[in-house]
Amino acid sequence: MARVFIPSLLRSFTGGSAEVEANGATVRELIEDLEARYPGIRQRLLEGSHLRPNISVAVDGEVSPLGLLETVSPTSEVHFLAAIKGGMAPSMGSLSPSSAP
């Protein structure tokens, strides 16, 4: 199972644990598995079927440009990070649609 690191502000869902385990071949599947174990956490990570715009995911230490589609192996380390506004990667031009309803 992949090791998932829980940011401090979401640890209320994991009973205070900073590090949990979850299954899944992709980040999307991993989140589904996390939701089964820690109900409510999905809603803090996803908005509809997308990763929340303020959250990015890192697999094995690399912030992934693929997000939910990124593949995960059973030995992976997965981090959910508060995406950083201004001056950081996402603000410098993304391929996101120019507007969302």
Binding site: L9, G61, L81, K85, G93
Partner: protein, 748 residues
């Protein structure tokens, strides 16, 4: 990572755009001339915080030569939306609000209305004839002030977010987040020494010499054409399309040469306004900011309040560290506090860490990135506390840093583990540098050191490379070239193709003519666009091997490329010779690539500085300065050195004199290059550099971004040097003569 020796990489060719830039031929945004061109001017708020009661434009419209006036009312009626321009969810009203204020003005200099006229003088005069009735409101100018309960609110609808989750708390705190690692209490309990200090840093500006400018033509076919000075043409395209509610394909942005950016030319200010004026007049409209507008109406980098607490064992080993970072976002959410949190302890391996970040809105211009945004503020705090710990424990400041230095496998407080980094190598190079051991004699002189980190960005870049029959290639890219990246990108293609750098002709093109490319920022261009050029060159080679195979009647797999020649058993043809025969072997060869790379390698930079303080005036002079940085692999060492020198001097300016000097009414009192006091040639010695190369395993040539980390250490290093010179610890930036004198008085 290849350890082969390179033909092009590491050499110092003349930059491709050099002749145009030394002869005055290079065309920057303000140089645009076109038939029927109108000139725009913007009316800006004289209040830091006020409700707009009414705007009367009739007198302006009546002035001879005036062709149009626009206000926020001219935006399409689609303002009540949440949008995502890669900054996260943001109300469109915030994005538009910073372009032209609606309802309220939130800082002095906030754009309220704009005019297009037949000359810049008439436009400016007309703008002054627009009558705006304001209801002034109390303003808040610093983070601690704005966070206080009961503080005047900038946005009545702004509710604090905790890790992206909206709460019901209405306040000026747009966002709070926390990184934590280990057990903080346990870590401090283990420490033999715990120091806790508070720091204030002033708002500072990037200070690029070319003011913002934009020219727009809303063409009769409905397409919006824009020429401007920007770090990212695609960002301008997407943002302008979003603001004006247009499909992105209806906007074409042509990036002109850019006279400096440093992060400050990522946001959009003028383009949508010029577009609205063009829409009303049917003519192209150019707007160029004055220097005062640049200071008051664009995005400086946040002022901040920082509290740092570090615990260490007697032997110097850090056991715990805590940081509170409150950064001033300016009028709209989005301070660089996330990056500040990521970098505040980034140079150290500390087992127990908690970092709290606060993004706080205040009545100042909406902040923008500035070279390693957020990191310089944070390092000023951390690196001066580290220096104090070294003093208390009687350790050499570099030994203390080396003892705790982050290395491959170190886990940062945000959870990520470092891959191969050069922190230790940079510290060792500092220690070994002759400057560090050179005698420093004389009264009131001192030497300081500090280290800084910037993590760098990847992000998408696209390139095409067309092979010319004369053996040269044309490289088309979307990265605006601010400091010589045409050349550092071209050199990577040249290396792959086995041709001289001068045989690659790089061109930076508009948004219709190249694939999506993110901004020139985040130290990413030589890394990511260079990588795209590498991949496009590989694509060229693959196709040319097929052509060679066709010439020789072989399978492409039989053809090798080495030393600039295609070879197969018994056959050999140079790149140039084969280029001349493309027509007969199937037509043109165009290589293409688009990358969105992982493998970004962060960069560490350190500096050693000697200062002399005049204890009677508080003035600090820089006697000697050495900058040392891990470049991964230096593609063009002269321009790597140039980045190190430029970043260092911006750091020196930030340390010593630069600040937004605000009156209590929110007026910037020093909004000119006379009183903002960036360093001149006469204020500096030569800036010595030493490039450290710890190749980044994530990049084909080992490149790390070098544009930013160099600005991070100087303020802390200078503070540490000042302490050794005159015995006072400076915890407020700038360490200007009056501020330093204040501390000297307290001491005596």
């Amino acid at each position: 990572m290849s350890t082969q020796s390179y033909q092009v990489i590491g050499t110092r060719p003349i930059r491709h755009d050099g002749v145009d830039k030394v002869t005055g031929r290079a065309l920057y945004g303000a140089d645009i001339q076109m038939a029927g061109l109108l000139h725009g001017a913007i009316l800006r708020s004289p209040h830091a915080h006020a409700r707009i009661r009414s705007i009367n434009t009739s007198k302006a419209e009546a002035l001879a030569g005036v062709k149009a006036v626009v206000t926020a009312a001219d935006f399409p009626p689609t303002g009540d939306r949440i949008v995502d321009l890669g900054e996260g969810e943001t109300p469109l009203s915030y994005i538009r609000g910073n372009i032209l204020a609606s309802g309220k003005v939130l800082y002095r200099g906030h754009a309220v209305a704009a005019v297009a006229a037949t000359s810049p003088h008439i436009a400016a005069e007309a703008a002054s004839l627009i009558e705006v009735e304001y209801e002034p409101l109390p303003c808040v100018l610093t983070a601690p002030e704005a966070m206080r309960p009961g503080a005047p609110l900038l946005h009545e609808d702004l509710k604090t977010k905790e890790f992206g989750q909206q709460t019901d708390r209405v306040s000026n705190i747009a966002e709070h987040f926390r990184h934590s690692l280990g057990d903080l209490e346990k870590g401090f309990a283990e420490a033999d020494i715990v120091l806790e200090r508070e720091f204030h840093t002033a708002t500072v500006h990037q200070g690029y010499i070319e003011p913002h400018n934009a020219t727009a033509l809303w063409n009769n076919d409905g397409r919006l054409l824009i020429w401007c000075s920007t770090q990212g043409a695609f960002v301008v395209r997407d943002t302008t399309a979003c603001i004006l509610d247009l499909p992105v394909s209806q906007v074409k942005v042509t990036p002109m040469e850019i006279g400096g950016g440093f992060g400050g030319k990522i946001p959009v200010y003028l383009e949508p306004v010029a577009a609205l004026l063009s829409k009303k007049t049917g003519r192209p409209v150019k707007i160029v900011m004055s220097r005062k507008e640049v200071f008051e109406g664009t995005g400086p980098t946040p002022g901040s309040f920082i509290r740092i607490k570090i615990g260490a064992k007697r032997d110097g080993r850090f056991t715990a560290a805590q940081a509170d970072l409150a950064y001033e976002a300016g009028a709209y959410p989005g301070a660089m506090v996330g990056a500040g949190a990521m970098t505040v302890f980034a140079a150290y391996d500390i087992p127990n860490v908690t970092i709290d970040g606060y993004d706080v809105v205040v009545n100042k211009p909406s902040t923008a990135a500035y070279r390693a945004p957020g990191a310089t503020n944070a390092a000023f705090a951390t690196e001066t506390v580290v220096d104090e710990i070294a003093e208390h424990l009687g350790l050499d400041p570099l030994d203390l840093r080396l003892k705790n230095a982050a290395k491959e496998g170190t886990r940062r407080a945000d959870g990520l583990k470092y891959r191969r980094i050069g922190c230790v190598e940079v510290l060792e190079a500092m220690k070994a540098h002759p400057h560090y051991r050179a005698p420093l004699e004389g009264a009131n002189r001192g030497r300081g050191v500090a280290i800084g980190y910037w993590f760098n960005a990847g992000l998408p870049s696209s390139c095409t490379i067309s092979v010319n029959a004369d053996g040269s290639v044309t490289l088309v890219e979307g990265s605006t070239d601010i400091g010589g990246t045409r050349t550092s990108v071209a050199m990577q293609a040249a290396e792959v193709l086995g041709i001289p750098a001068g045989s690659v002709h790089p061109v930076v093109v508009d948004t219709d003519s190249v694939g999506f490319t993110a901004v020139t920022g985040g130290s990413r261009t030589t890394f990511a666009t260079g990588w795209a050029a590498y991949e496009a060159a590989q694509d060229v080679l693959r196709q040319m091997k097929e052509r060679a195979a066709k010439l020789w009647g072989l399978e492409p797999s039989a053809v090798r490329f080495e030393g600039g020649h295609f070879r197969a058993s018994g056959h050999e043809i140079s790149f140039a010779e084969l280029a001349a025969r493309l027509a007969e072997t199937g037509g043109p060869v165009v290589g293409r690539a688009t990358v969105n790379p992982r493998g970004v390698g962060g960069s560490f930079a350190g500096c050693i500085v000697d200062v002399e303080v005049d204890p009677e005036t508080g003035k600090t002079s820089i006697l000697r300065f050495t900058s040392i940085q891990d470049a991964g692999r230096a593609i063009h060492p002269s321009y790597v050195e140039g980045q190190m020198q430029g970043g260092s001097v911006q750091g020196i300016g930030w340390a010593l004199n630069e600040e937004y000097f605000m009156g209590p009414d929110g007026e910037m009192r020093n909004s000119s290059l006379l009183d903002y006091r960036m360093p001149t040639a006469l204020d500096l010695p030569m800036i010595d550099t030493q490039i450290v190369e710890v190749p980044n395993p994530g990049h084909p040539f080992g490149v790390r971004g070098v544009g930013e980390a160099n600005i991070v250490p100087p303020p802390a290093a200078i503070a540490n040097a000042i302490y050794r010179a005159v015995g006072v610890r400076m915890r407020r930036l700038p360490m200007s003569p009056p501020n330093l004198m204040q501390e000297l008085w307290k001491k005596s």
